[in-house]
């Protein structure tokens, strides 16, 4: 199955909206997740498990850094880098 950028971003936003129970908060691809205090260590951990299970990718310890989790766009770029070549557009 090929995943487009938009599909990845939508999956991530859906997950974050549900996980953070922030129905009223509009999460956009550019929402600053860390600066807004939306994610903590447990949320990051759960997000990693979601990424690994949903996109069938493996997140390494060195990937767990501020830059990769700053926004939904940054997360999407991380997923895109981790996806097998077949899935990339």
């Amino acid at each position: 199955m090929m995943l487009s950028e938009t599909q990845i971003i939508q999956s991530l936003i859906n997950y974050l909206q549900t996980e953070l129970s922030q129905d009223r908060l509009l999460i956009t691809p550019e929402t600053a997740l860390i600066e807004a205090g939306l994610i903590d260590s447990l949320t990051i951990f759960k997000l990693i498990v979601f990424l690994e299970e949903h996109f069938t990718i493996k997140i390494q310890a060195e990937d767990i850094v501020v830059e990769n989790f700053a926004t939904v766009c940054a997360l999407q770029a991380l997923v895109q880098r981790k996806l097998p070549l077949l899935n990339k557009e």
């Binding site: 951990f45 997140i59 989790f69």
Partner: protein
């Protein structure tokens, strides 16, 4: 090379060899003496310190602030209400003994070989441990703030348990990695550790957690001794995700310097009729119930830092919150 030079070279070599031999021999004898006598020093010093820590003049002279802190902690928790037989003087003596004598010895104890170390330790609930570990689903060892807590891991290492991982504070992780700690990186350091923890548990390993060392937004407020405390639910989340057994383990030292390790009954993970958040909240409450009993059983073994944190943080509980919620 002349004959004289050869002789000089030989003399020098012999001198170096003798020096090396002597140094090696001294080291060997030092080790022998240390290995033979260190446990004796330990128990003799334990007796002396246990006596000293119980002397009112010594308490006033050396540990005035610490005594005041323990007294304040006993007032804040009102432990005497839960255990009328509790003797504040004994709690103070035990706390001073742990904070001075045991604090100095505990890292040295960890370095002792099993033959010296094992007679020092009493294990209770060993069958509970074996039953949990043999399930092969991983074990989350739940502990709290005592100086002897890390010795549980030492015992497990001697028993050949692996893989093992201990969850540390973000500051400790940064220090171990030689990084400068910053508040921004803290959640990432902890998330990395949780990620590694998941792999460890999936491999049937053991993870040691002191739950309130974690930080986060999702902490669950639970009443504990007249106060409402926030407990991070990361360990419960890990258990539900991996199926690992959550085993509370306490470790305390007595006034003779002997260490008792106790494995308690595993926590229940709830059932499918409950929502995930309900299950997590129920697990955290079970941990706090364990904490309630453990504090009451050996209050003098709590780290003074933990007592200070309890005294300083959290307003006394209002009437709406009741200890019946917990125990």
């Amino acid at each position: 090379m002349t004959v004289g030079q050869v002789k000089n070279y030989r003399r020098q070599w012999e001198a170096d060899a003798l020096k090396g031999l002597s140094k090696g021999r001294n080291k060997f004898y030092r080790r022998l003496v240390k290995a033979r006598w260190e446990p004796t020093f330990y128990f003799v010093e334990a007796r002396l310190m246990a006596w000293l820590c119980g002397q009112p003049w010594a308490q006033r002279r050396y540990w005035g602030k610490k005594v005041a802190l323990v007294q304040e902690f006993l007032r804040a928790t009102n432990l005497a209400m839960y255990d009328p037989a509790l003797q504040p003087a004994q709690v103070i003596r035990q706390a001073l003994f742990c904070d001075s004598f045991f604090f100095d010895w505990r890292s040295r104890l960890s370095a002792w070989p099993p033959a010296q170390w094992m007679p020092l330790i009493t294990i209770r609930g060993e069958e509970v441990w074996h039953s949990a570990y043999q399930q092969g689903k991983g074990v989350i060892l739940l502990q709290y703030h005592t100086l002897a807590a890390r010795l549980v891991f030492r015992w497990l290492a001697y028993m050949g348990v692996q893989p093992m991982l201990s969850i540390e504070t973000a500051r400790a992780i940064a220090a171990a990695a030689g990084q400068t700690y910053s508040a921004e990186m803290a959640p990432f350091l902890q998330a990395r550790q949780l990620h590694a923890t998941k792999s460890c548990l999936e491999a049937g390993g053991v993870v040691r957690i002191v739950p309130d060392l974690q930080q986060g937004n999702e902490c669950i407020p639970v009443p504990l001794y007249q106060r409402t405390r926030l407990f991070p639910p990361a360990f419960a989340e890990l258990a539900l995700r991996t199926g690992a057994v959550m085993l509370p383990a306490s470790a305390s030292v007595d006034l003779h310097g002997r260490v008792a390790i106790t494995f308690h009954a595993p926590l229940h993970t709830g059932d499918a009729s409950q929502s995930r958040s309900e299950r997590i909240a129920a697990i955290v409450k079970q941990y706090v119930a364990f904490l309630h009993t453990a504090w009451l059983t050996a209050p003098g073994n709590l780290k003074l830092g933990q007592m200070a944190s309890f005294v300083a943080n959290g307003a006394p509980m209002t009437k709406e919150g009741s200890m019946n919620d917990v125990v």
